[in-house]
């Protein structure tokens, strides 16, 4: 018998299961490059803009942590929402986010992005650095990706930082401005999100 002693067998099991985590985890930079390649391939296809938008929404649902971004965008207000308000917010936010995200990306045709570095901030976050190659119409653009890695098997995008400007922070400050202008009334934000999506 291979495992002559129970202790050896137990140690083998510990090592085996310790390694499982490593075997199935996806490196943040590999995840970003594969996501970018997927989006890039789609954007270079000879299909209508509407088809591209629909396909980009599918990619976004699979690779972006929309719930996490939704929570972040609300700031401290998220702690004040009732269950019903939270439910309604996430339905509206997802709709808004997918339209906004896909609309922004669909403008690009065949974007070339090279992933060149990564910086592990902690067990939950890794920043992946990439470069959107320049064309005659636009200069080279530095894009950093905040990847949520709490579940290493399923990393998710939480933010895009373009030339040092965080899109999530911009969105958060935009939502805060809307709430401040309406005495913190979440219904005002719901109304604006609804109007945007319709």
């Amino acid at each position: 018998m291979f495992f002559r002693k129970p202790l050896t067998f137990v140690i083998f099991l510990i090592i085996f299961f310790s390694n499982i985590n490593k075997v199935y985890s996806i490196e943040a930079d590999v995840f970003v490059q594969s996501t970018v390649n997927r989006a890039s391939k789609l954007l270079s296809e000879n299909i209508t803009k509407e088809q591209k938008i629909e396909e980009l929404k599918v990619i976004a649902k699979e690779t972006v942590d929309i719930i996490g971004i939704g929570f972040y965008s609300l700031g401290a207000k998220r702690k004040e929402l009732s269950d019903d308000e939270e439910k309604k917010y996430f339905i509206l936010f997802e709709k808004y986010f997918l339209i906004s995200f896909s609309s922004r990306l669909s403008e690009y045709t065949n974007p070339e992005i090279d992933v060149n570095n990564k910086e592990v901030l902690n067990s939950n976050y890794t920043i992946v650095n990439s470069i959107l190659k320049g064309t005659s119409e636009r200069p080279e653009i530095m894009i950093d990706w905040r990847i949520y890695t709490k579940d290493p098997e399923s990393p998710m995008i939480r933010d895009l930082i373009i030339e040092g400007l965080s899109l999530a922070r911009t969105q958060k400050e935009e939502f805060a401005s809307i709430l401040d202008s309406n005495d913190g009334d979440i219904k005002a934000l719901f109304k604006i999100l609804e109007e945007f999506s319709n």
């Binding site: 902690n122 930082i161 935009e174 604006i192």
Partner: protein
């Protein structure tokens, strides 16, 4: 048995240390503090000015920028290079004021090479000579580096977003801080004039607008509150420029993200 046990424990330690390696906090991320909130003390007036600027942009700046963009790429690149070269006359003294003496030397070298070999800056010869990437500096940034508070956020007519500190920085240009302005307005020569200085500033605005036609349109189209988006982007950009450091890692504040759980 002992051998197996030791080998197993060593293997376990290697695996654990490999995981711990990626688990530790990055020291860079600790440097970022919670961003200072810059008050929008005159929001009503700012929003009104912002609307005025949007109107001016729609009627004047955007159409002009669209026309400018139709010019040959080589012409636009040459114009942009000349404007960047002129801007280094403000960057160099600010490098010195911020204690970046090496960068001041590099930028002086870049200016000399591009003005002479590059024919008044039309050709970016310094780039071909592998000079480091050019980073603009201004007096607003220098005041920020010195620790001067940004003050309130303000929107200036025509010029757009600013803060009290950045507006003071702009005044420093016309109070002797910009050698190009000094030579244009007070210099006794036949080549430079106040009107040429104004034309240069207008050209800078058109060049900026033309470079950002799509991104501004996209932002406007996808913003729920365009005023708030522009304010956020402007203030983030200034924070990054004043930090003079790794644009992403060192200016990010992690506190807001730490509580967000979705997995």
């Amino acid at each position: 048995m002992k051998k197996i046990l030791i080998t197993s424990l060593v293997s376990l330690m290697i695996v654990s240390s490999a995981i711990a390696d990626t688990d530790g906090n990055n020291t860079l991320s600790k440097k970022a503090k919670k961003p200072v909130v810059i008050k929008d003390c005159f929001e009503g007036l700012n929003r009104a000015t912002f609307s005025l600027n949007e109107g001016l942009d729609k009627v004047i700046f955007k159409p002009v920028a669209q026309g400018y963009k139709k010019l040959p790429a080589s012409f636009r690149t040459g114009t942009s290079n000349v404007l960047v070269n002129i801007s280094s006359l403000i960057t160099i003294p600010n490098n010195v004021l911020q204690g970046q003496f090496k960068m001041a030397g590099i930028n002086t070298g870049r200016f000399v090479v591009n003005t002479t070999v590059g024919i008044l800056g039309i050709f970016d010869v310094a780039e071909k000579m592998d000079f480091p990437e050019y980073e603009k500096e201004d007096y607003g940034q220098t005041f920020g580096v010195w620790g001067l508070d940004a003050g309130c956020y303000i929107v200036l007519p025509v010029l757009g977003p600013s803060t009290v500190r950045d507006t003071l920085g702009s005044f420093a240009n016309v109070l002797g801080g910009d050698p190009y302005y000094n030579a244009s307005t007070h210099g006794n020569n036949e080549y430079l004039s106040k009107s040429l200085y104004m034309k240069t500033k207008i050209a800078s605005g058109i060049d900026f607008r033309a470079k950002n036609l799509d991104s501004i349109d996209n932002l406007q189209k996808n913003s729920l509150d365009f005023y708030a988006s522009v304010k956020s982007l402007y203030l983030q950009d200034r924070q990054q420029k004043i930090a003079n450091t790794n644009p992403t890692i060192e200016i990010m504040y992690e506190g807001d993200w730490e509580e967000i759980e979705s997995q």
